[in-house]
Symmetry: C2
DNA sequence: TAAAGCATGTAAGAGGTTACATGATTGG
DNA sequence: CCAATCATGTAACCTCTTACATGCTTTA
C-alpha cells in the first residue's frame, strides 16, 4: 500500500522523502510516518523500482524507473481490495491508468459500496425493530453508516458520470 | 483499542469469543480477526479484567470484572485520540459513561472535525486555484473529504442536540 | 539567537492479519 | 452425507508507529 503511494506520487515527478510525506498527507487520508517512509524508499531502491539522485543539500530526490511504472499498475489493481484507503489511493492515481480501464475501477467500488449499504441498512433496520434494541448512541452509529455510504455512492455516481462523459468526448 | 472494544461489549452481558467477533463486526467499522481476538481474551483474563466461565459445549463465556469496568472507563477517555475508529468505539459505549461527561466526548469530537474540515477546505480550494492543479480524480477526492466531514459534523450536531435534550429532560 | 521547520535515518515494539490446525453441530 | 457455519486456538509475519538520534536552514 505504501509502495503504491510512493510509486504513484513519484510518477508526478521526482520528489525527496520529506516532500513525499507532505504530498501524501495532503491527499487527506494518510499521515504516514518517516519511520515507515524512509525504509520503504530504501527497499524500493534496492528492488530497482525507484532511483536516487542527489538533490539540493542533503536531499535525496527519487525518481520512478521503468520497472517501477509496471509495478505501479499492478499495485493499482491490488489496491481495489474493498478497503477505503485502497480505493482512495486508486483514485489518486487513476489518471495514470489507461483510460479504458478507469471505469472498471469506479464500478467495482460502486459494487462494493452497494453491498456495504445493504448490510448497513439491514443491521440498522433490524436493530431498530429487534427485541434487544441498542441504545441511541449505537443506533446513531448505524444510521451514520447508512447515510455516509449513501453519500459516497452518490459522489461516486457523479464521478462515473464524469468518466463516461470524458470517454464519450474523446 | 481492541481491549476497549471487548470490555465494552462484555458490559452488555457475558459473551463468548465467536459472538464477540460478530457483535464487533455488527457495529460496522471493524472486522476483527480471531488471531487477535482470542489472544486478547487470554491477556485480559490473565490481568483479571474479565473472567471465563463454562458455556454450552466448547464455548467459553467471558464476563467483565470490577477492575475491567474501571479500566473500560479509562480506555473510553484514551480512545478520544482523534482517530475515527476511536470515536466510533467511544460512541458505541458512551451509554456506560456517566451522563454528565458524555457531552464532553461529543464536543471534543466536534472540535476535531472542525479542524479537519478547515484543513480539508484549505487544501481543496488551494489545489483548485493553485499553479499545478491536480487532476479531476484528486480534486474529487479532496471535495469528498470536505463534503463528508461537513456531513459528519451535521450528524454530530444532531447527536449533541439530542444529548442536551436528554440532559434537560432528566 | 532561539525556536520552528527541514531533512534523513535507526531500533524497538504495538497491533494487527493470514494461514494453519482441529473438530462439533446444523441445514439442505 | 456434504457443505456451511460454529467454535477455539497457534505461529509466522506484516505494516506501520513511536521514540530516538543527528544536524542543517530559515524566520521571528
Amino acid at each position: 500500500m505504501l509502495d503504491f503511494a510512493i510509486l504513484g506520487l513519484l510518477r508526478d515527478g521526482p520528489r525527496h522523502g520529506y516532500e513525499l510525506k507532505r504530498a501524501l498527507g495532503d491527499l487527506g487520508f494518510w499521515q504516514v510516518s518517516f519511520g515507515s517512509l524512509y525504509p520503504a524508499l530504501r527497499r524500493l531502491e534496492k528492488q530497482g523500482q525507484i532511483e536516487a539522485t542527489k538533490g539540493e543539500g542533503r536531499r535525496k530526490a527519487y525518481r520512478i524507473s521503468g520497472s517501477g511504472r509496471e509495478r505501479m499498475v499492478d499495485l493499482l489493481a491490488e489496491a481495489g481490495d474493498g478497503s477505503d484507503r485502497g480505493f482512495q489511493l486508486q483514485l489518486a492515481f487513476l489518471g495514470y491508468l489507461d483510460p479504458p480501464r478507469r471505469l472498471g475501477v469506479l464500478e467495482d467500488r460502486r459494487t462494493a459500496l452497494r453491498e456495504r449499504l445493504q448490510g448497513a441498512r439491514e443491521s440498522f433496520l433490524g436493530a431498530r425493530s429487534g427485541a434487544r434494541r441498542p441504545d441511541r448512541y449505537r443506533l446513531a452509529l448505524m444510521e451514520r453508516r447508512v447515510r455516509s455510504t449513501e453519500a459516497d455512492i452518490a459522489w461516486l455516481d457523479e464521478l462515473i458520470a464524469g468518466e463516461r462523459g470524458a470517454a464519450a468526448g474523446a
